[in-house]
Amino acid sequence: MNLVVLCKSWNHKKVLEILAALREQELRVRGLVALAAAPEKKTWTDLARKTHEKSVAYLLRHFRKNGAVDSTGTNGFIAVNGVTPEFHLPMPNGQLPARQNQPAGLTIAEYAELQQIPIAVVKDLNSAECVAALQRLETDILLLGGVPIIRANVLAVPKICTLNVHMALLPTFRGMNVAEWSIYCGAPAAVTVHQVDPGVDTGAILYRERIDVSDCPTIATMRAKVSRQQHLVLAKCTRLLIEKKLVPEPQQKEAGKQYYLMHDKLKKIVAHRLARGYHHHAP
C-alpha cells in the first residue's frame, strides 16, 4: 500500500508529527510531495515602502543585489542532504546516533534518507507537476498535511482515496479556525478524519474523536494538543482503512456551516473560556 503525504512544506512540524504517527502505526510512507517555498516578490510598492522606512541606499543596494524578482525553488525530486531542517524526529532504536550540538533524534531529511522516502518539491500543489509526482509514487492513499484546497485533478490520482484530518467535528464546523469556533459555540473540541472531495471539508466522514482540552489554558496549548492528537488519529484511521474496518459516512451539505478565520475580539472569548478550564458536558 503506497501512502504519500502531501504538505505545504516538507520541512515543517506537521510533517514531523504525521511521520511519527504513521511510524507508530507501523505504516511506511512511500513519499512526500511538498510545496516549494514561495519566492519573495519584490514590487515597486515594497521598494517604495522600504525606501521610506530605510534609505535610498537600500534601494540601490537592492537593485545591485537582487534585480526584479527572486527565482523560484527547485523542481522535481531533490536530494535531502545539505538541507537545514528545523524539526527532529525521535530517533528509532538502533539507528543513527545523536550528533553533537543538535537535539537527539533525526531530522526529517535524515529520516527520509534513512527510510528511503523520496521528497518531491513542486511549485503548485494543484499543478500537473504535482499530479505527475503522485503518479510516479504510485499513490494508493494520499494523506493531506495542512494544505490549501486541493483540486479534482490531484484528488483523482490516489487509487483508494485522499484522507484529511480536520480539527473539529464535521459536518458542523467546516472551514478555518474550527478548533476555536468549537469552543466559541460551546461544542466539544474534536478531530474528524474524512475523505477529501472537491468541496471544503464536505467529503465522507470516517472517524470522529473528542479531545479533552480542560488542561489547555490558552489557545496555543489547545491547538497544540488538538494538532498532536489529529495526526495520531489520522494514522490510526489509515491503518483501519487499509484493514477495511472503516465505513465512510457521507455528509449532508446543509448539516454544517463554513467558518472563517476568527477575529481577535472573538478569540478573546475563546481564550477566556480556556483559561477557566473548558469542559463540554453534552453527550
Partner: protein
Amino acid sequence: MIALRSTAKQLRDLIEMRLYWPSHLRIGLQDYFDWRAPVTTLQPNAVHLQAAMDWLCRAQEATGDGGVSARYRLSKNWAASYPETTGYIIPTFFNYADLTQREEYRTRAQRMADWLLAVQHENGAFPGHDVSAQSEPRVFNTGQALLGLLRAFRETGNEIYLQASQRAGEWLTAVQDPDGAWRRFAYYHRPHAYYTAVDWPLLELFAVIPKPAFRETARKHLDWVLAQQQPNGWFDKSGFKDDATPFLHTIAYTISGLLEAGALLEPDRPLENVYMQAAKRASEALLHRFEIRDFMAGQFDRQWKATVTYSCLTGNVQTSFNWLRLYEFSQDARFLNGALKLNDYVKSTQNLTSRNPGIHGGIKGSQPLWGRYIRYSYPNWAAKFFVDALMRENRLLAELYHREGLA
C-alpha cells in the same frame, strides 16, 4: 492611442485631485504607492468614532443652512447640503448623543430636521440631489428623509415632523406603480431593488400612523424585490444604472431594507419571514466572498464574482452593519466575525493625521481614491454608516463580553 488616452486620463485625474495642495498630495501618494496598506494604525473604536463624528459636524457647519454637506471633494471642497443623507444622518446623531450624553449632537440633529422641513416639496416629496441645483422629487431620497423626520418626531414629540412624514409617505404611496416597483421619480426612471430602503421607513411610518396604505405600499415593493432574487441570493436590478455589476453600496441598501422591513413586519420571529431570509441568503454570499479573499470588492456580478479591484468603503460599512444586525437576529457569530474584520479594514483607511478638515476623520468613497464609487471624495454617508457600524459593534461586543464575564 490607448496609451495616450490612458496618460491623458491620468493627467486629468491628477489635476482633478488638486495635488498641489499638500494634504491632497499626501493622500494621493499614499494611495498611489500602496493603497492596500493601512493609512492608520488601528485605535480603539471610540477614537475612530469621534473623528468621524467631528468630520460630520464640520460637514454640517460647512453649508451653514443646517443640512449636511454631501461630500468633501478634492476638486471643489465641500458640496452643498444633501437632503437624502441628511435625513438618515439624523438618527446617527441622536444615537451618538445617547451614547455620549452630549446634548450638542441632539441639537445638531434637530437643526438637520428643521432644514429638511424647509426643503420639502409642497407635495411631500424631497429633491433628488444636493440643493445646489433644482432637482425633481425622488422616491429614494424621500424615503431617507422620512427616516430622519420620524426620528426627530420620536425624540422631540413635535407634531410638525410627523405631519411632514405623513405627507412624504402619502406621496410615496401615490407614485408607486401597480406592480409594486417605483419607476416614476426613480433614479434614471428605472425600477430598483435597493428601494427596499424606502419600504423600511414606510413601515416605520405605519408604526406611528397606522394607515394601511403605508404598509401595503411597502409590502408590494418588498414582494417585487423578492421576485428579483436569484437562487444564489443575487438581486437583479440592484444597481443605479449598471445592473450587471452594481456597487456594493446599492446591494447593501437592498439587504438593509429587507432586514429592517422584515424585523418591523414580524418583530416576534424576524428570522422566519421571507424578507429576512432573502437578506440572509444574499449576506451569506457576500460573507463568503469577503472571507475567502480577505478583501471586499466594490462591485460584483450575478455570480457574486468581484468585477473590480477597488473597495467601496461606504458599501463595506453598510454591509458590516447588516451583518451585525443579522448576528443580533440569528446569533450566528460568523456575521459578527465578518463585521469586525470589515470595520477594522475601514478604520485602517480613515485618516487621523491630516490637517485638512475635509480629510481628517472622513471616509473615502473608494479605496483607493480613484475607485469608481464617489471617486476623489469623502461622502457624508460613508462617515454616517461608519459611525453606525462602530456604535453597533461596540454595543454588541459589550453585551457579549458582559455575558462571558469579561471586562
